[in-house]
C-alpha cells in the first residue's frame, strides 16, 4: 500500500483536497438531516415559534417587536418593549446591540431621555434597568416584571380597563426561568399584548 511518508508533498495536497471535499459533503448531509428531523419532530420550533391570532401569524414568541405607530412613537394602549438598536428598532433583519460603552456620553444622554419619557407616560415609580437599556440582540422579546407593572396604569387608562385587571394579567404572564433558576423571570411582551387585546372591561 502507498504511504503518505514515502510519496511526499504532492500526495499530501491530493489527500487534503479529498478530505476537505468529503468533510463538506458530511456537513451538508448533517445539516439536511437535522433540518429533516426538525420538520418532522419539532416543526413549531424549527420554523421560529410563531404566534397566531385568528389563524394569522402576527410574530414569533422569541423575537421582540415594537408597539409603536409608523413614526416610532410609543402607543400607550400597548405594553412597550425595551429600547432596541436593531435597525430602526426591532428590525428582524438587522440584529444588533448599541455597543455603546459603560461611560459613553451618548448612552448616558439616551438613558436620561428614556427615563424622562417613561416618567411622563407612566408616572413616578422606580424605573428598572431593562426599561432604559437596549438588549444585545435588539430583538429581546422580554421585559422584567417590574417594567411591566410600571406600565399597568397607563395601559389600563388608555383601554378603559381597571388597573387591577391589567395587573392580574401581567402577574399571570410572568414566566419563571427554566427549572426555576436558569436565568431571570421574564414577561413576553407580544404574548402579554395579545392577551391584553382579548380582555373585556
Amino acid at each position: 500500500m502507498s504511504s503518505v511518508l514515502t510519496r511526499g508533498p504532492v500526495r499530501t495536497w491530493t489527500v487534503a483536497l479529498r478530505l476537505l471535499l468529503l468533510t463538506t459533503l458530511a456537513t451538508v448531509v448533517y445539516t439536511l438531516v437535522v433540518t429533516l428531523i426538525g420538520q418532522v419532530v419539532l416543526p413549531g420550533q424549527a420554523h421560529g415559534s410563531t404566534v397566531s391570532v385568528g389563524g394569522k401569524v402576527v410574530g414569533s414568541a422569541l423575537i421582540g417587536q415594537s408597539f409603536t405607530d409608523a413614526k416610532g412613537n410609543a402607543l400607550p394602549q400597548w405594553f412597550q418593549s425595551r429600547p432596541s438598536a436593531a435597525g430602526d428598532g426591532y428590525d428582524g433583519g438587522a440584529s444588533s446591540g448599541s455597543n455603546l460603552g459603560p461611560n459613553s456620553a451618548d448612552l448616558l444622554k439616551a438613558i436620561d431621555e428614556r427615563k424622562a419619557a417613561i416618567r411622563e407616560s407612566d408616572g413616578p415609580g422606580a424605573i428598572p434597568a431593562d426599561a432604559v437599556t437596549a438588549s444585545g440582540s435588539g430583538l429581546d422579546p422580554h421585559i422584567s416584571e417590574a417594567y411591566a407593572l410600571l406600565q399597568v396604569d397607563r395601559v389600563a387608562r388608555a383601554r378603559n380597563l381597571s388597573a387591577a385587571t391589567v395587573r392580574a394579567l401581567v402577574e399571570r404572564t410572568v414566566q419563571a426561568p427554566d427549572l426555576g433558576y436558569l436565568g431571570q423571570p421574564t414577561v413576553n411582551v407580544l404574548q402579554l399584548n395579545i392577551a391584553l387585546a382579548g380582555l373585556r372591561a
Binding site: 511518508l5 433540518t35 431571570q184
Partner: protein, 559 residues
Amino acid sequence: MNGLLFALTVLTLVVALVALGWPLSTWMARTYTTDRDWLVERGVHRLLGIDARSEQRWPNYLRGILAISVLGVLLLYGLQRLQQFLPYSLGLPAVPEGIAFNTAISFVTNTNWQSYSPETTMGYTVQLAGLAVQNFLSAAIGIVVAVALIRGLASRTGAAGLGNVWVDLIRTVTRILLPMAFVAAIVLLATGVIQNFDGFRTVHTITGGTATIPGGPVASQEAIKELGTNGGGFFNANSAHPFENPTGFSNLFEIVLMLLIPFSLTRTFGIMVGDKRQGRAVLASMVVLYVLFTSALVAFEAAGAGSATAAAGAAMEGKEQRFGVLWSALFGSTSTITSTGAVNAMHDSFTPLGGMMAMLNMMLGEIAPGGVGTGLYGFLVIAILAVFLAGLMIGRTPTYLGKRIAAREITFASLYLLTTPTLILAGLGLTFAIPAVAADVAKTSIFNTGPHGFSEVLYAFTSAANNNGSAFGGLTANTAWLNPALGAVMWLGRYLPIVFVLALAGSFASQETRGTAEAGGLDTHRPQFVVLTVGTVLIVTALTYLPVLALGPLAEGLA
C-alpha cells in the same frame, strides 16, 4: 435572590460537565489509541488513498494540517466570491474581497472573527457548506495537534512517529464532533433554535405594522459553533439572538458545550500518558484559573461601574432580559477563556473592568480550559516552562513525564509563548504608529471615545491573535487596514504555535524513556505543580500585558 439562582446554575454546570465529561474523556482516549477503524472510516481511507497504519513524523503530520488549511482558505474564499450563483443565497451578492479574505482565514483558524453582519452578507449555502465545514475541521485540527503532543509525551520507545494526521482528523469528525453536534443540534432545536430554509418572512403585527422573522439552518450550525469552540454567529447578535439562544436552558447548554471537550481532554491526556493523576493536576490548574477569572468578571459586571451603567441602575445595556447580568457574564467569561468567542451580550457595553477580564481571559493564552485541543497544548507548554523554572531552582535537569526539557524543547516552548503577545502588541503598535492607518482607524473604525475606543482595537488584536473571535463590536473592522491585518494575525496566531507544538511533540517522541518517575525532580501530579503553573501563567500574563491594559480598560475603570 438572583445570586442564589445563579449559584444553582453553576452547580448544575459542574454536575453536567462531570457527568458528560467522564465518559467522553474515556471515549476520546479510546478514539486515539485503538487500531480498529469503523467501516465508514475504512471507506474514507480508500477514497483518500491512504494507508491508515503508516506513522508520520512531525514534519509530515504538520504538512497535512497546513495543506488542508491552505486549501480550506482557498475554497472558502472562492465560495464567498461566487455567492450570487449559489442556491439559497437570499439574493445576496458576492462577498466583497476584503471580507471574504478575512472570513476565510477567520473560520479556517477556528477564530470566527466576523467583520461583517451575517444577515446582510452570508446566504445559507455559504454558511452551511463553507463556514460550518470549517467549524468541524478547525476544531478537529486543534484536537489532533493536542493528541500528537500527548503521544509525544507518552511515547517510550524513541520511535519518532506521532500517528497519522488523516486518520486522526477523520476519527475526530466521525467519532466525536459529528455525533455530538448532531445530538446537541436536536437539543437546541427543542429549546427553540430554528432550523429551516424560509428566508426572511414579513408578518403583520397586532398594531397594524410589520415585523420581520429571520430564517435559516441555525441549530445545526449553533451546535458545532459552541462544541468546537468556534463562535461564529449565524446572526449578527450571535448567541444574544433569540433564534440562536432562546432560553435560560439553551444558555446553560451552550456553556456546557463550550467547556466539555476542553476540560475532558485533560483526563484523556492522563489516560493516554498512563497516569491519570497527571491529567487531574492539569485539570485542577485550569479550574483554578477558570474560577478565579470568571468570578472576577461576574463580580465586576454585578457591581456595575460606569456613568451610563449607574444611570441605568445595572449593567443591562447589551444584555438580554432572560439572561440578566449574571448569566450573561458567565457566558462571556466562558466564551473568552475557551477560544469560542460567541457572545450572548455585547462585550463593548460591559463595565470597564468586566470588559478587561474578557481580554485577560484571552491574554492568559486561552488555556483555562481554552479551545478544543488548543487549550490543552497551550497549557502543556506552560507546564513545560514551569517545570523548567522549577528545575533551575532546584538545580536538576528538568523533566516532564520522563522527558528531558533541554535547550531544544525550551526553545520551542519559548517561541510558542512569544508568538501571541508579539502579534498582539506589534499589530496594535503598527495600527497606531502608521499615521495614515491611525487616522483611518480613529475616524472609521473606533466607535466609542477615549480609552474605551483604544480598548476596542486592543480587544480586536487580542481576539485575533488568540483565535477567539469575540469583539468589542462597536469597532468597524471592515476596512482596508483591519481586514488584512487581523487576517494575517489570525493566520500566524494559529499556525506558528502549531508548528512549535508539533516540533515539541516530535522532539519528545524521539526521546527514549523508561518511565514517568522523576526521582528528585518536581512531582507534576501534586498541588505544588498547580501552584507553579498557575503562578507562571499569572506572572507571564501580567508582565506582558499590564502596560497596554493601563492605556485602555484600566485607564477607564480606575478613572
